[in-house]
């Protein structure tokens, strides 16, 4: 398989990455591994994700398998290392104009059916927007995921449902994932590793015993 094939994934590796207050971040996320990131608001979690997606000027390098971030044009890198922001934005009128043919199984798992494609964006609730933003990102067939509080606007039941669906897909496709989360219980359920940003450094957190 060629390096350009979008189905190819690999180790997501941050090498001496620096953005804002954070400096010299070295991190590796295995294919299929979910790494949770937490920290006080304003500690730089979102900026770190933006730097990994190359949306913000930063120091250091990011690797996806053999592919270096600086070796490909910005849009090609972001298509493979997909960032889903905490708040999604929509530019066209209907949902369908933003999504390439979604899988019916995915639609159902998120509690939608094919009719959602006809819906007007202006009438979506924040929870619906959040779920559809996840679906929209996954439809682009990325090779790695960066999730910024993917279940922040959802009630507990929906949150669990989305979480289960995401974890399933991640294992199935073998994406390396960095997942920003606050809820300790959720972190315990989805992540093998949990890092916290404390005073501009990444600190490894003990995982709760019952996971």
């Amino acid at each position: 398989m060629s390096v350009n094939d979008s189905s190819v994934t690999g180790l997501l590796r941050l090498a001496r990455l620096g953005v804002g207050e954070l400096e010299g971040v070295d991190l590796a996320v295995e294919p299929g591994e979910i790494l949770c990131l937490s920290g006080a608001s304003g500690s730089g979690k979102s900026r770190l994700l933006r730097a990994v997606a190359d949306l913000e000027p930063h120091r250091g390098e990011v690797w996806l398998g053999e592919l270096a971030q600086s070796a490909v044009p910005g849009h090609r890198w972001r298509r493979r290392v997909m960032l889903v922001p905490a708040e999604s934005h929509w530019w066209a009128d209907s949902v369908g104009e933003h999504l390439a043919e979604p899988d019916v199984r995915d639609l159902e798992a998120l509690g939608f059916d094919r009719e959602v494609l006809e819906w007007q964006v202006s009438r979506l609730s924040s929870g619906e927007k959040q779920r559809l933003a996840l679906l929209r990102a996954l439809c682009c067939e990325p090779s790695a995921l960066l999730l910024d509080e993917p279940t922040a606007n959802l009630d507990d039941a929906t949150s669990r449902r989305v979480e289960t669906w995401l974890v399933e897909r991640v294992h199935e496709r073998g994406w390396p994932v960095i997942w920003v989360a606050h809820d300790r219980a959720q972190i315990g359920r989805v992540a093998k590793r949990h890092l916290r940003i404390l005073d501009s450094r990444l600190v490894e957190e003990e995982q709760a015993a019952w996971t």
Partner: protein, 267 residues
């Protein structure tokens, strides 16, 4: 037929009526009299000066003097484009992009019109070159300024949308495509409206002037059509160039949106 000469005392009568208007607004406490008088005084001084310059220019009829005048007009228009933008590009780019866009479009179209279409002898004859360039620059300036202002202002307001599109792997051209179209539209709209209303709602100034100066209306109409088309060409290509360069400048080599390249508006 010759134009009826105007003497200064006749103008003074008209000026007196402007002063009367200013007095009326002052009595009614509408607070407009001061700016009205200042603007009227500016008109007199600026036009008198430009009249002197044009007299000298027409007498000399030298290419380098015409070129110098054209350059001065271009630089003043460039400054005006920059001043009319609320969030302009930093580092001289607002002035540079506007001026280069106006230079490329206005100058090319003016020179082409003079050499190929009208064909005065010599081609840079100031009676033709300077008024033509003046009308081109004036309208191109408005188009470029409106388009760049709309581009930077909308990009600023829709930052989150543009970035979300970038996150989904869109190219920068695609991510700002809608905004570019809107900017183009606001730059070209005044000229399209002017063409649509010409003759029906408004009699264009140049045509009116020619008729007053004794030209037959049929000839004045031909000149007006030519001017409308050349102005549209100048505005269109100028706006196109300015929007292309301006939107490119909003992104860096990694296709990131760089709003830190825009100035914070003064309050």
């Amino acid at each position: 037929m010759d134009v009826i000469a105007l003497s200064w005392w006749q103008l003074a009568l008209a000026a007196l009526m402007v002063v009367a208007l200013a007095a009326c607004t002052a009595v009614a406490r509408l607070g407009m009299s001061r700016s009205l008088l200042v603007a009227a005084a500016r008109t007199v001084i600026q036009l008198a000066l430009v009249g002197l310059v044009l007299e000298a220019l027409f007498a000399a009829e030298r290419l380098h003097w015409v070129a110098l005048m054209a350059l001065a007009m271009l630089l003043i228009a460039g400054r005006e484009v920059m001043a009319r933008q609320k969030r302009r590009l930093l580092g001289g780019w607002a002035f540079g992009i506007g001026t280069v866009a106006m230079f490329l479009s206005s100058f090319t179209v003016t020179v082409l019109t003079l050499t190929v279409i009208i064909g005065p002898e010599p081609w840079y004859r100031p009676q033709y070159a300077i008024p033509l360039l003046g009308m081109m620059l004036g309208n191109t300036m408005t188009g470029v300024a409106l388009a760049l202002d709309r581009l930077t202002e909308t990009a600023w307001r829709q930052r989150a949308v543009i970035e979300n599109r970038l996150m989904l792997g869109q190219r920068w051209q695609e991510a700002i495509g809608d905004i570019r179209r809107e900017a183009m539209r606001s730059g070209l709209m005044p000229m399209i409206n002017a063409m649509a209303a010409a003759g029906v709602v408004s009699l264009p100034g140049m045509m009116t002037g020619q008729i007053l100066a004794g030209s037959p209306p049929a000839l004045a109409v031909k000149y007006q059509i030519l001017i409308m088309f050349t102005i549209t060409l100048g505005t269109g290509f100028g706006t196109l160039a300015a929007v292309a360069a301006g939107s490119r400048r909003l992104f860096d080599g990694r296709e990131r949106l760089r709003l830190d390249r825009l100035a914070v508006p003064r309050q």
